[in-house]
C-alpha cells in the first residue's frame, strides 16, 4: 500500500479517528507534565532568577511557530505537485495553530526580554524575521478566507507559503549568518559547551514534546473539520445543481 492512500479523505478520516484519542492523551500528559515540572520543580537560575521558567513556554512555542510553517510548506508542495486535497486542507488547518504558537513566542519573548535585555523588543534579525513570519500567518489566513474557490485558494496560499518560508528559515537560522543580534544562540545544540544544564534541559524537552503533540492533535482535529466543511460544500452545491 502506498503512503499516498492516506491522502484519500475517507482513509484519512478513518485513520485520524483512530489516532486522535491517543495523540490527545500523550499531548495532555507531556504538556501539562512538562509545564508542571518546569514551573514547580526546577530551581531559579543564579543569573536570571525565576525568569528562567519562561524558557518552558518560549522555546517550545518559538520552535513550533517556525516548524508549523515548514510543515505547511511540505503539505503545500504536496498539494501543488500531487494535488491531494487533504494535504492542502492540512496546511489550512495548521495556520491558526502556527499563528498562535508564534504569538506565544513573541509575547513570552517580549516579557522575558524586559528583565534580560532591558528592553522588550529589539530589531535583531531573528526577532524581525519571526515577527514577519507572524504577519505572514495573518496574510495566509486572510488569503484563504478571501478566495471563494477552494482549489484556487489552495494554489494561491501554497505560492504564498513558499515565499514566506524564507522568513521561517531566517527565524530559525538567522543566528548562523548574523552574530550581532541580542538573541540567544542555539542553547539546545548537542555540542555540550553551550548547553543549558540538565536541570532545565529535561523539563524543556518534555515541554517541546508537549507542544509538538499538541500541534499534531490540533492539526488532525482541524483537518477533519476542514474535510467535513469541504464535503458539506460539495453536497450543498450538488443539491443546488439537482434542484
Amino acid at each position: 500500500m502506498s503512503i499516498w492512500e492516506y491522502a484519500n479523505p475517507k482513509k484519512f478520516m478513518e485513520t485520524s479517528a483512530r489516532l486522535l484519542p491517543w495523540v490527545t492523551g500523550f499531548a495532555m500528559v507531556s504538556l501539562l507534565g512538562g509545564l508542571f515540572w518546569g514551573f514547580f520543580l526546577t530551581p531559579d537560575d543564579f543569573r536570571q532568577g525565576s525568569t528562567v521558567k519562561i524558557i518552558y513556554l518560549h522555546v517550545p512555542a518559538a520552535i513550533m511557530g517556525t516548524s508549523a510553517w515548514f510543515m505547511m510548506l511540505v503539505t503545500s508542495l504536496i498539494w501543488l505537485i500531487r494535488r491531494h486535497h487533504v494535504s492542502a486542507l492540512a496546511a489550512k488547518a495548521a495556520a491558526p495553530v502556527g499563528l498562535t504558537f508564534t504569538l506565544i513566542g513573541l509575547v513570552t519573548g517580549a516579557i522575558w526580554g524586559q528583565p534580560m535585555w532591558g528592553t522588550w523588543w529589539a530589531w535583531d534579525p531573528r526577532l524581525t524575521a519571526f515577527l514577519i513570519l507572524g504577519l505572514f500567518y495573518l496574510g495566509y489566513i486572510a488569503l484563504w478566507a478571501a478566495v471563494d474557490d477552494p482549489d484556487t485558494a489552495a494554489d494561491l496560499t501554497s505560492v504564498l507559503c513558499i515565499v514566506g518560508s524564507v522568513f521561517a528559515f531566517l527565524s530559525r537560522y538567522a543566528i548562523l549568518f548574523w552574530n550581532q543580534g541580542l538573541h540567544q544562540g542555539a542553547s539546545l545544540s548537542l555540542d555540550a559547551e553551550e548547553n543549558v544544564s540538565d536541570v532545565y534541559a529535561w523539563p524543556l524537552w518534555t515541554c517541546i514534546a508537549g507542544f509538538l503533540l499538541l500541534f499534531v492533535t490540533l492539526v488532525l482535529l482541524r483537518t477533519r473539520t476542514e474535510i467535513r466543511a469541504r464535503r458539506m460544500a460539495a453536497l450543498l452545491s450538488r443539491e443546488r445543481m439537482a434542484g
Partner: protein, 218 residues
C-alpha cells in the same frame, strides 16, 4: 513585451498624470509625519531616514493597487494570457513600467524631501542610492502581492497585508543605509543586503507572480 511596457506607461501617464501622483503621495506622507510628530528638529532629523523610506513604501503600495486589477476587469489579462508573451514577461514588463512611473520619480525627488525633514547633510547621496537600489524590489514584490489578490474585489487591503511584511527587509536595510550614511558610519553591509534582496526578488518573484495569475484567471 516592449509594446506592453510602452502601453502601461502611456496608460499611467494619461490616467491623470501617473508620474505626478506617486510623487505627490510620497511628499504628503513626508509632510504629514512632522505634523503628527511635532516640530522638534532634533527628533525629526533622527527619524528622517525611516520616514522617507516608509513614505516611499506606501507610495509604491498605493499605486500598485490596480497593477493587474484593471486588466482583469476589462478582460485584457485573459487576452494577454493567450497571447504569445510568456506571462512571466508580462509581469516583468508591468513591474518595470510601475517602477518607472513610481519608483524613479521617488528617487529623483527624495533629496528635496530630505531637506524638508532636516536630514543630516551626509545622508543625501545615500538616500538616493538606497532608493535607487531598493525601489525595484518594491515594484516586483508588489507585483507578486497584486497577482495573488487579482481576482478579488476589494483586494486592495488584503494585498497591502500580504505585501507590507515582504517590504520589511527592504525597509530595514534601506533606512539603515541612510541612517549610517548620515551619521558617517560604515554601511557597506546594509547596502549589499539591500542589493541582494532586490536581485533575489527580481530573479524569483516574476515566476511566482505569473503562477498566481494563472491560478487566478481560472
Amino acid at each position: 513585451m516592449r509594446a506592453l511596457f510602452l502601453r502601461d506607461l502611456a496608460l499611467a501617464i494619461r490616467a491623470g498624470g501617473g508620474f505626478g501622483l506617486g510623487l505627490a503621495f510620497f511628499l504628503l506622507v513626508a509632510v504629514l509625519m512632522p505634523l503628527g510628530v511635532g516640530p522638534d528638529q532634533g527628533v525629526l532629523g533622527r527619524i528622517a531616514p525611516g520616514v522617507l523610506w516608509v513614505g516611499a513604501l506606501l507610495a509604491c503600495l498605493l499605486s500598485l493597487d490596480r497593477l493587474f486589477a484593471l486588466d482583469v476587469e476589462d478582460g485584457s489579462l485573459d487576452l494577454l494570457a493567450t497571447a504569445p508573451l510568456p506571462l512571466e514577461g508580462v509581469v516583468a514588463a508591468k513591474a518595470l513600467a510601475h517602477w518607472v512611473v513610481t519608483g524613479l520619480p521617488l528617487v529623483l525627488a527624495a533629496p528635496v524631501l530630505g531637506l524638508e525633514l532636516n536630514l543630516a547633510p551626509g545622508g543625501y547621496a545615500w538616500l538616493v542610492v538606497s532608493l535607487l537600489v531598493g525601489t525595484p524590489a518594491l515594484s516586483v514584490i508588489g507585483a507578486f502581492g497584486t497577482a495573488l489578490t487579482v481576482g478579488l474585489k476589494r483586494g486592495g487591503l488584503l494585498m497591502s497585508l500580504l505585501v507590507l511584511p515582504m517590504y520589511v527587509p527592504t525597509l530595514i536595510f534601506g533606512a539603515e543605509v541612510v541612517r549610517r550614511g548620515a551619521a558617517g558610519l560604515e554601511f557597506g553591509g546594509a547596502l549589499v543586503f539591500l542589493a541582494a534582496i532586490t536581485l533575489g526578488a527580481l530573479a524569483l518573484l516574476p515566476f511566482a507572480a505569473a503562477a498566481a495569475i494563472r491560478v487566478n484567471l481560472r
